[in-house]
Subunit: 337 residues, 4 copies
């Protein structure tokens, strides 16, 4: 393979730039030419494609977000969109593609591969909810950003004897909430993977103040459960009488310079994606499992280790869905009394 | 004066601990004894008062919030509350008090002084809205925290071509919005001290995207104007068609390790308050003006330089109200095109 | 087991406080009493031992260093020292001990266990060089601190077209250098686990400037190789003509608020150590391997999975010495051209 | 004036990019064209000059260092160098220049003005040692970076009961040492503006440990005094017996994202420089004094308020040399006992 391209797709995540840099640098060191595609699949279809040299990525390693930009582009799920994209790839002489993004982006990579353009997916999202990997690019940064916010909020919670409900991102996964909550010493962590009893939540708050063991109380709520505002309203309904405030960390978690871990992971995965393409392999997603890089077929049977299977009537099934570490929920209950 | 006390009052602000530390250390180096009063005037009335030694404040310089805690206590506006507080001061042999807090706290300091307990106020609030000082303790930290958030949000705004409305604290003052907005390269800054035309706001957004000069747009809104959610709703009403998101930095701005500037300012002011008490002077508020410390009578006539005057019917008048720097609003318009 | 104690030993590392907090909180939630021993084995021998309650560790999670302090105490390698320590443990009714520290500290834990006081070791050091664990408590923070420094130095290296030699800690291990170097985009990383040719090093520098591909050059040198000053002198001897500066990050890497990862790891390990003591198990070191906690006998045969064995003449042998990831060295060569 | 240029000169400082951005944006909003000159006066002479548009400076506000780069170029002190530079300015139709840099750079600005190219100087250096301004661009960031390092070192100093000598930059000025030292709670601050007695220094260390008031000791030494290593050696000679370590923060202080204050100051000054050029005024240096911008003639008589005067035999005299705040040295002695 002589010429490859790289794009970022889906929600931005810190470390995406490190992944793109690694793809560019590794490809050049393997004697390949490498192109950047702006704004994900949308840019591919529009031909927003430019050649990179090693200096193109000289200043991106520490930047958050994605300098290639990202865009939603549901049209790429349709054959027509795919064919338009492929036309542009052909026009530019591109033979393989690296896609950095969420698992929605993986399907595009699968289709490109089926059309003869080997494509490899890298897991780029803060939510850590992608199948086939223990960690996603961006997760560690988001957790540390949430932690920094918790440390700040604790200052003011302590100073005023307040209860804070802190909403964190994570889509349907509780990973950010669990990691940031344990690290930040949250008194309670509410995640979508576990039921909660609002009366129990309020009881713990009340009891904490009553025993004078705590003068403040911090509850981390994953957005997959409900919004922080809704949660606080439920607490009030259930009889909470504390001085209760809500903070939604929201989009703050998506930005910022990536942590060392996210940069290393992204660099490692980016280089590995080039190795796979060099061998002509596509339709694969790279992950990290037990401290080593692994790759899985994006589509296929569970026996083949594929991330997704198709049912007879064409529906997508996730073979081995992501699970948050509920032992961490248990751990926090032991530490937060 | 042989024995003084220190308390924090009103909303917490980074640097309050540095101020308390300076009061304690300076008092000890002047041969005085020094006591800490927990939870502001509430703790004074309840007698929640403890002696400090130099080691008591060994680890507080870098901590956000106030380790003495703070509490609202409107009862101290009444004579009855004041007399109870004074009883406790007498019981502990305390002869003078340093109050770190907002200008609400200054009135208590005035009353104590009138009752024979010289009290000095230090301006502790993130909002920078206290009369008699160019800067308050906590303002610089809050601005830098807001700036860090703006830098993060820009990453994701750029990556997705989005418009962000970012709400920042500041009560009725636009200072945090102006400083953080200029430093963060905000495209528009909306402050309570200046009218705005929502159609103009939306026009700038639309024009920015149309000319391709900008692929994203960040608007900082001071809470004194309205909430970020309300502002975004108004923009939509006025015809904004961009991908618009709202982030409320909220209580994040109150916490965190204080910046160098806030620690230096707090240390300097704290030591100065002790100097004033040593001379038996009270009823004063310390400020910084043109890079030097100044002190002003809290209550008196405008001619005396007092911060507040009483009208004939007993109402409080602010003699020289805080003004935000509207030349900074102008500056940002020049730079943000 | 009804009453346990915890101490920190060896060089301080961010996250040690999180580990101590977890031991205290978990022990209390298991109905145990828990004591803190100040200044490591020295404090044990001197009886510097105090009971903790849940609030004792209320503010330590985000603090760097170790609030229990640490001290070198070679006397504990001798039987006499151990017996004195045990006397103090008995006096306080302590039945088991958690030791957070480097592998030197593990030997003390082994001896206590042999004397009937089950002791469990947790790996606390920034160097990541402890056997029996993929990661040590403190490593992730140190890497991120080094990374932040590299990001700063790059600003000035770029601005002036300079070469920087940056010395980082790590004792005989290259882990900090490798992780921080990859994350920081170092042009070259020199670690003790790999030979280097100083002429090659200088050649890369010269070539980088000559091809105009780089206007600056950053070389990370692990302290286990030699000091940054020595390395720079060797470069000059070998003919380097660039504007060369040396920075030694030194003790900066030991301090600072721990990262999320270090806090989670420390919390998890701390709780696990209590679980082991509860079952009466000692002479073990806790580690993380493949994302799960593991425990290994500190002393025993390689077949038993022990970390250390004794030879017939009483020497200590490391059964499965720590290895830095040299594939990361390779990765960096691919990315840094 | 229709076309102006901007360059950075001397040591890099955080906020230089914010100043350049402000010059570019303000000039464009005034209807001027604006050019960037790479690598200071060296680039001017070589004609390394390029036109900017508003987007050229889209991502530089938060970047440390100077994206225009800087270089030493003593040849510009000679007429020949100046004439070459002017030739290049003429070739590009440039009529005025903004120079961001240390006071060495001001002389070049003066010469350009004398040759008919009005040039304005902005004070860009971390050292805060430039005449005509209360604060320089970069100083606040450097102080905060030093402070962060002091906070880290305190963690490890406390954990091990150590003495740290911390060397900070500042050329012949003690400003960074004084501000960072007070903010970081340094036990002693040694600056070039004040004599010190090494026996006194050691006595304070010894006494601190002896009275058990302190278990650690941090001494900040400005580089203008001597190196940290030399200072520590002198302490040992004078009988210090503590566990003494040296850290040189060195070039770390030059990099990093600028603080809010540095960005605001740089933005404000940059816009003001354009206002001056628009009126055809040159030979001036912009400063901030008592919270307002001021401008001073670079060369002239003291009566005119000029920063520098020439003696009859052509020597440069500084009219009103920068002075560090020695009241801060006094303040720290009061707080650090």
């Amino acid at each position: 393979m002589k010429r490859i391209a790289v794009l970022t797709s889906g929600g931005d995540a810190p470390g995406m730039n490190a992944a793109v840099r690694a793809v560019v640098r590794k490809a050049i060191s393997e004697g390949m030419e490498v192109y950047g595609i702006n704004r994900g699949y949308a840019g591919m279809v529009e031909g927003d494609i430019h050649q990179f040299d090693a200096k193109s990525v000289a200043n991106v390693l520490s930047r958050g977000g994605t300098f290639l930009q990202s865009a939603r582009y549901p049209e790429f799920a349709q054959l027509e969109g795919q064919l338009k994209g492929i036309e542009q790839l052909k026009k530019n002489g591109i033979e393989g593609v690296v896609v950095v993004g969420g698992d929605g982006s993986y399907h595009g990579a699968m289709r490109l591969t089926e059309h003869g353009f080997p494509a490899v997916g890298l897991p780029g999202t803060i939510d850590n909810d992608i199948v086939g990997t223990d960690y996603t690019i961006g997760f560690d940064t988001a957790v540390n950003t949430a932690l920094e916010a918790l440390d700040r909020l604790r200052d003011t919670a302590f100073s005023h004897g307040r209860t804070f409900v802190v909403e964190v991102m994570g889509r349907n996964a509780g990973d950010i909430a669990l990691w940031a909550g344990i690290a930040g010493g949250a008194d309670q962590i509410i995640v979508p993977e576990e039921d909660f009893d609002i009366n129990e939540v309020v009881h713990k708050v009340t009891e904490g103040y009553a025993t004078k063991n705590k003068n403040h109380h911090i509850i981390v709520v994953a957005e997959g459960v409900m919004s922080g505002e809704e949660f606080a309203a439920k607490m009030k309904e259930a009889g909470d009488t504390s001085d209760l405030r809500v903070t939604n960390l929201g989009h703050l978690l998506r930005g910022g310079a990536p942590t060392a871990r996210d940069r290393v992971l992204a660099s490692w995965m980016g280089a590995h994606a080039v190795d796979l393409l060099k061998e002509g392999r596509g339709g694969l997603a790279v992950g990290i499992h037990n401290e080593e890089l692994v790759e899985s077929p994006i589509l296929g049977t569970a026996e083949e280790g594929a991330l997704f299977s198709l049912t007879e009537d064409g529906k997508i099934v996730v073979n081995n869905p992501h699970k948050a570490r509920l032992d961490f929920a248990e751990l926090n209950r032991d530490l937060a009394h």
